[in-house]
Symmetry: C2
Subunit: 456 residues, 2 copies
């Protein structure tokens, strides 16, 4: 019996319409990445397991898809692991490769492996799928695309300025108003923890703080107390729960709060530098905000932290993010290579653009006209026109069979083809083509050159 | 100690130059696919194992990369398979998913799964990587891209005509002269085997015949004799070893040879129909040839067989191929769905274009100008220009650090950046920018609008 076809959970087929819309976004990303001097690279879908394992924490290791070795893979497996059914221990004996989990670790590996071919600073972009064995849920997939731009080999804060401009350019080209790039700095978070005397509880402190918009001030305080952060410390930090105003206003409050913290002041200085430059250069579409509660990716970011919030009218949350990591390539033996990077969440941006109905008609450009097939002689007559139209860059097709007229018209209709051409004995006689507009029903007889002119 | 980074054998990193050149080819493919009315789809990188297994023969099954189940995958494994270390039997117990091996089976699965959304005939193209656990060797990789266009749901021979035109359009746009599309028809091969009384040895017969250009007439005869094809039969088939002339000439010979074979005559009729149409429509770049020895993919092609030969001046062999299969989707329960498709060999086309030095300079367009960084004030002055240049669509960058002049110039040089801008106190004073052509050494002072005009 034939199998009922299906695909693995958490993966997707993309229809022609979906691919066209995705490519519309990807083309805008690619165009802007290149306009800003980022160069494209691509890395293999799978890496040696030891390149990936241990880079994303225990949870990450678990979510990495492992590839079974080829051939008689059990021949080298230890008897003990087999008889104790020790999946964990067996994995490294029967699997040497794994699907990439993100684009950052492969990029770090690339930089180290190719360091002698690269002239630093190196700015690359990469648009490729990644895979995670996560529980599939709404908007979360096991195969999804990451769109990353990173710059390594310079600790200039002008890189951060450039990335904010890049966000502005991309969302401008997408026609997406109301996007906010929220910024913070790891050094501010360290300074806050330090200044309240809880430097050793930095992670607990920031994890709780990060939840402010979800669980509110009381919830955050409750969590901090549970984690052993003292009431006195919490009192000292309370002002930041209610920080408001623009970027510069918030900096004033932070300056007062962090006056005694060397690292905190460094963080303020960095944010102020970036904000001053952005103010001098101006933004067209996005706005920049300082969000002291932002702690995204705290375990690797060392300076700037970015998170991109979708327009408030759609309930989507983050559609991008990034930050600076001072030692991207150290894990692979290349020290002191500061990097900063951002990513765009393709799937979520797609959903936002769809919800706000911002995909332009040209993103869906398909076949412009279909020639109706009336039989042998007529089809050859039509194919000659089709050839000339294509040479003029106009997408056109002949229906391949001399099927019933109704069937062919319905095909044009279902595929949203705007025009059909009808050419029978009379048209051939006069060397013309009857062009019918499927929307208006208008018909006119045109010579081949008039036809090209009409549709160009 | 840090790991020395590497990638799995048979996989590749692509540098910025390589990605740009690959995208140049892919963009030409994509453009022509769409011009011809093919619609893009994408399918997941991995499929359920039962979708793939058993579709490519025993050898194929072995070469499919299997993905280990997540979590405690051994808990469901049978004790017997573990204790006997039976890799083969264990695989289906610990792996439910596998990386796709080609794009044809996933396409067939897609058509059946989405049959109610599709209005047939359905013409799709797909450009995605596939994976095979093959022994890596020169020009053969474990991860490589396939670029396929297929049309299903019509047995009109005009589809074959269209595919030949598509090859012509693509190789024309690539500027690649001297490509030959070789054609044959499965029915011709069946007719030949039938007419010499060896219909039951069709496979042995065609496999031997296919080797004519490698092992010569004597070699082919020797192999046929070894496979039990009679001397009498071989005598009857000898004329095809020496067939020559153009497409029409060869058809004349075949007509004489296959006069008594119903299926053979049907094959001739099909080839003649296609050739007549192509002659009436004309080809611009490629030439079409009839090659009776062509047996590529005999196990699934039922009508036309295509193979694309690279220009003779490069020793590359096949750079594409395809054919018609009358029952593409039957394996998934959708009967009577005739399909015809072709593929382009991206990696080999790349090598040919490279060898013949046909990549245009625009395929490598990188950053056009680099602004030299002289410090705080100067860099902000430059960033204002960079912003305006980018808005005008001109790729430009500011070097992020106020590094030594020599280092910055050398960076421009190594990245093949054509222009640098030098702007110090004097330029700021006069509101101009000094543009230096890196190749000629020419320098001139320009206002921002002159700069944009100069570089547009």
């Amino acid at each position: 019996m034939a199998q009922k076809p299906s695909i693995p959970k958490g993966t997707r087929d993309f229809s022609p319409e979906e691919v066209s819309k995705r490519n519309y976004i990807i083309n805008i990303l690619r165009h802007n990445f290149e306009l800003f001097g980022f160069q494209p690279i691509e890395t293999p879908s799978f890496e040696n397991s030891n390149t990936l394992m241990g880079k994303y924490g225990e949870e990450g290791d678990r979510l990495i898809f492992k590839i079974l070795n080829s051939g008689d893979y059990l021949s080298k497996a230890s008897e003990a692991n087999l008889s104790f059914k020790d999946s964990n221990a067996l994995t490294s004996e029967i699997s040497e490769k794994a699907l990439r989990y993100d684009l950052t670790v492969p990029f770090a590996r690339y930089v180290v492996q190719h360091q002698n071919e690269i002239d630093f600073p190196f700015k690359r972009y990469q648009i490729q799928p990644v895979w995670r064995a996560d529980r599939p849920q709404k908007g979360r997939f096991r195969e999804f695309f990451q769109c990353d731009a990173d710059a390594v080999g310079s600790d200039s804060l002008l890189q951060e300025v450039t990335f904010i401009q890049l966000y502005d350019a991309v969302f401008g080209d997408l026609g997406l108003e109301g996007v906010t790039v929220k910024m913070n700095n790891r050094k501010i978070l360290s300074g806050l923890a330090e200044t309240i005397g809880e430097a050793d509880k930095l992670i607990d402190f920031t994890v709780a703080l990060d939840k402010l918009d979800k669980i509110g001030e009381e919830g955050v305080i409750k969590e901090m107390l549970e984690k052993g952060i003292s009431q006195t410390a919490i009192e000292r930090v309370k002002p930041i729960f209610r920080v408001h105003g623009n970027f510069a206003d918030k900096l004033i409050l932070l300056k007062a709060l962090l006056a005694d913290s060397v690292i905190g002041k460094k963080g303020i200085e960095e944010l102020e530098y970036i904000n001053t430059k952005i103010e001098a250069l101006g933004l067209s579409t996005i706005s920049l905000d300082l969000d002291v509660t932002l702690a995204r990716g705290l375990n690797y970011y060392t300076g700037a932290i970015f998170e991109v919030a979708a327009p408030k009218i759609v309930a989507m949350g983050s559609i991008g993010g990034g930050g600076r990591y001072d030692d991207l390539t150290g894990i692979f033996g290349l020290k002191n290579m500061s990097g900063v990077g951002i990513s765009f969440g393709l799937d979520r941006i797609y959903l936002v653009i769809e919800e706000l109905d911002l995909f332009p008609a040209q993103a869906l450009k398909g076949t412009k006209l279909l020639f109706i097939n009336f039989g042998e002689t007529e089809s050859l007559y039509c194919l000659k026109a089709v050839k000339k139209l294509r040479e003029a860059g106009i997408t056109s097709e002949l229906y391949p069979d001399a099927a019933k007229m109704k069937k062919q018209m319905s095909h044009a209709d279902k595929r949203n083809i705007q025009f059909v051409v009808l050419a029978g004995a009379e048209e051939i006689e006069q060397d013309v083509y009857t062009l019918k507009n499927m929307k208006t029903g208008d018909q006119k007889r045109l010579s081949i050159s008039e036809l090209i002119q009409e549709l160009n």
